[in-house]
Amino acid sequence: MRVTGLRKSFGNHEVLKGIDLQVTPGEVVCVIGPSGSGKSTLLRCVNLLEKPTSGTVELLGVDITDPDADIDKVRAHVGMVFQAFNLFPHKTVLGNLTLAQVKVLGRSREEAEEVAMRNLRHVGLADRATAYPAQLSGGQQQRVAIARSLSMDPRLMLFDEPTSSLDPELVGDVLAVMRDLAAEGMTMLVVTHEMAFAREVSHRVIFMDDGAIVEQGPAAQVIGSPRTARAKLFLHRVLHPTEIAEAELGETEPIDPVLDREEWEELHGS
């Protein structure tokens, strides 16, 4: 995966201000940074859920920003795991895992189910194949979502804060699955606030702020001894949330700037 000069604006609000990023096969890259810094937007631009304003995105050797590229073919082999899971509520766990295999890859039902069961075993949920998503805990749903992506034989996995909407005691199961994946050599780009995971698993950590990559390097360096003041402040706040002095409050940008009218309309349609 290679991103060059990526810019993205919503209305006149520039969210990504020229991102250059390359992830080589087998590499695990973690993206950290304050809320609103554009991490999600970056991930969504990578598989074109969001159309970049300018710049190029090359995925699995295909320039998908080229209008002639078949984005669906590429996407089929790029897994995406969302903060909100986004399982299909009208399908069973097995149905969630087989749908795209059959409709996109053209696998037979039997083959798709075999692949699905293998991946469910992988995430430790083979016994829940006939359950509906609403019957599962958040942690189980997220593992099903990962298994759903894995069933498509992905060559790159994108994770957008996969554990951020989970109860604390369920985070570990999901991280364990991701750790396994990394150990098996899966190429991964992970937006996360789990610093321990980033330290332990990633080959490289990227600190983003205000739509740009501010700092990057090995986890030990970026998380352990950040060079820039912005990264230092961010990490202090994440790692020691109870130590924020009253005097420091309001020192940083508000977390979610109020949308101006144009952005609001873009979000909600007119």
Binding site: N47, L49, D72, K73, V74, R75, A76, H77, V78, G79, M80, F82, A84, N86, L87, F88, P89, H90, L99, A100, K103, V104, L105, A134, A145, R148, S149, M152
Partner: protein, 280 residues
């Protein structure tokens, strides 16, 4: 942080202030409401002339006169409703997809259609289809069934489109994104992920639309119909012209409409309740 003395509650006055506590007051108010209701019912019952009432709305002879026509009139009401519903659902789906299209002209056309037909009385459209089309375009629609289905369906589709669009849009955006990121095309995502979920959401409003259509079939008689084409309202009108029975036939036929619409209303409420639960 400096140590502060803990704050208690002794300084608050929490005793009830009026003569009656709020709960007692509510009980008295409820009692008054029941008394008013009973008085009103008693007054109505006392003021009605029961013999006259019985003669005007419950004369067996009038029902007997209308009886031979009731089965096919009832059947035709159902038939016209179904025909109109078919047209409404088909057109409504097309319009809803046009409204959601990324092509501006489609969106604009659909909006124009919807606003136009929502603003006109259905009766006018029945006239237009039955008399306007043959006079202006020379288009003669062969059967009353088709006239009813087209006229009522065209009007209903404007409402149907809005319900369907709302249902499709109520499916969370993340669902399409998940489907697309698995490599599904836009239409595959619609067919396999969005529509199955939208159907649950639109079932109540769509069932409501069937109820409205059932009642609107009472407008079709203005297109002119043969005895075999009568529906319930036409039968009621003809029965009113009979010398005996007064409004009896009207009441009987009103009851037949309810036989169709009440169960549908029941279904709507059940659906709304069960989907409310499934949301969790």
């Amino acid at each position: 942080m400096s140590q502060q003395s803990a704050r208690g509650f002794e300084d608050l006055d929490l005793r009830p202030s009026g003569r009656l506590s709020p709960r007692k007051r509510a009980r008295v108010t409820r009692g008054v409401q029941y008394v008013v209701l009973l008085a009103a019912v008693a007054a109505i019952l006392a003021s009605v002339n029961w013999t006259l009432m019985r003669e005007k709305i419950f004369t067996l002879e009038a029902i007997r006169n209308a009886a031979p026509n009731i089965p096919h009139a009832f059947g035709n009401t159902l038939l016209y409703t179904l025909g109109a519903f078919g047209v409404s659902l088909t057109l409504g789906t097309v319009l809803a997809l046009m409204k959601l299209s990324s092509v501006k002209v489609y969106r604009w056309l659909a909006t124009a259609y919807i606003e136009f037909f929502r603003g006109l009385p259905a009766l006018l459209i029945v006239f237009a289809v039955a008399y306007g089309l043959p006079m202006t375009l020379g288009v003669r629609i062969p059967s009353l069934f088709l006239k009813a289905a087209i006229a009522l369906g065209v009007v209903s589709s404007a409402y149907m489109a809005e319900s369907l669009r709302a249902g499709i849009q109520a499916v969370p955006k993340g669902q399409v994104e998940a489907a697309r990121s698995l490599g599904m095309t836009h239409s595959k995502a619609l067919i396999h992920v969005v529509f199955p979920q939208a159907i649950r959401i639109v079932l109540p409003p769509v069932t409501n639309e069937i109820i409205l259509l059932t009642k609107d079939t009472s407008l079709v008689y203005v297109a002119g119909m043969t005895l075999a084409e009568w529906e319930l309202s036409k039968l009621a009108r003809e029965s009113l012209a009979e010398p005996v029975g007064g409004l009896t036939a009207l009441f009987a036929i009103g009851a037949l409409y309810l036989v169709i619409t009440l169960p549908l209303g029941f279904v709507v409420r059940r659906l709304e309740k069960s989907f409310g639960k499934a949301k969790a």
